[in-house]
Symmetry: C2
Subunit: 315 residues, 2 copies
Amino acid sequence: MTGTCRRKSCNVGLVVVGSVALDSVKTPFGEVHDALGGSAVFFSIAASYFTDVAVVAVVGTDFPERHIDFLNAKGIDTSGLSVESGETFRWAGVYGYDLNDRDTIETRLNVFEGFHPRIPAGLRSSDFVFLANIDPELQLAVLDQVKRPRLVACDTMNFYIEGRREALLETMRRVDVMIMNDSECRELTGEPNLIKSSRAILEMGPHTVVVKKGEHGALMVTGDGFFSAPAFPCESVFDPTGAGDAFAGGFMGYLARSGDVGTPNMRRAVISGTVMASYCVERFSVDGMSSLEPDDIEGRFEALKGFSDFETEPA
Amino acid sequence: MTGTCRRKSCNVGLVVVGSVALDSVKTPFGEVHDALGGSAVFFSIAASYFTDVAVVAVVGTDFPERHIDFLNAKGIDTSGLSVESGETFRWAGVYGYDLNDRDTIETRLNVFEGFHPRIPAGLRSSDFVFLANIDPELQLAVLDQVKRPRLVACDTMNFYIEGRREALLETMRRVDVMIMNDSECRELTGEPNLIKSSRAILEMGPHTVVVKKGEHGALMVTGDGFFSAPAFPCESVFDPTGAGDAFAGGFMGYLARSGDVGTPNMRRAVISGTVMASYCVERFSVDGMSSLEPDDIEGRFEALKGFSDFETEPA
């Protein structure tokens, strides 16, 4: 069974392939059980503020209908969300007082274990594709199904860097932008200097690498330059889960909206990702991003300009 | 015995009180033995590119005359450099391949153990004072000797945060700017969130805190705002020793040159500190900063504008 898009038009320019999960998260500030989560969810909600976006993922028959209603209400195309018999992917984690570190308590892949992404025909010509953090073999399977997208971005994690290195390197040869954590960059390349590490990643195939550094912002490296983006100064980080995917959603959504993949616009897309991540971490699950207004997003975008400007001459 | 300033004019606007040391440093890229080091040295050399600067510190009778000649040749006033019988402060450290971590192999305080900073009469009216990383009791003794400076900045370290907390808090009540590492901020305040931690530091007295984050740049927090400064993308970090002091020297030197302590100029001063730290880490000891031209400094300052700009519209 495949979900149906409830929107009038399903011509979308951005598609994400990743996980949809039910997360149980405990932080010093509270806890939630079986809350809406997964990389494709955080990504698509963030992106939905900028452009039409479609999700390709799998859930079990236990997945609450209200979550699909919620995604559709955000304008997200769920025609690629397959419902398989069995339980939805469950993840449980605990964050300590220092929210930079987390312990995974439980990972039950359930139906996600047999996930074989199938891109619906109507989505195969999408201009923008995001390969969220899934097995690189599956990322390659997605690339085999899409038809000359303008820009493909890709995330990964230590598990695949260690256990699926060859497939990951093959994926990287075929994507344009890697979006990774700083620790993952260092692990993938074996190079502790982040600048050298980023350059080493460019030699593996992508023309751009966006390094997510959490509270330290983000760094974008291309063949001809660097862009250092500030973090939004979040005083109330409540639950960091999904921040990286929200970042990627804001980034790709911004690019897809304008269709402009030149460097200046890529820089603004990094800022857009930063804004979405900042809203994501302020509440549990997707609550921080569930009902934003354009002014909220524009406000933090402009604030980030103010936080990083040192060119303005004093009056 | 007190050193003599060999420059024609000794009217200086910036004074630093700290250590002068002979450092033995080993990194994966090489090693040096008994090289010129110490917080007051790195600070004053960086500051010397911007303004007149004077050093108040102590060395032993074994301290090579050529080092004093070198400082004087950079225009640094050494009238406050006291030479005491005994050996100069020695520090030895080893950096691993990941240059973010270092192990101290040996610390021999020698004459530094009995250091009682005495500010020469001609320097007591300095407008800008930097209290480098020394015992807060000594920092307080300095504050008792100077006469209404326009701006006092202060560094510290985990050793004093843990062992001299009361004296440090007293110092902080009397200074304007704290310049600290991110880990020190968190330790001092017990607050892992860096934004909350910075605000907590402001409540301890200073009106500004500049948080040094190494490869992640710097964050300046004041009562009414944030400034996020990019790091310079150094691909060849050779020896990180002294980077924090070089940063402080570039920061204070920039402020002292203009005499402008308004927020926009403070932001540019942070960038100036970033530039000096970037040159510092590219060679052993002070070699990376020993013979810079104004164009070198201006070049990286302008480059940092380019690395952080996202306002420019595409052509």
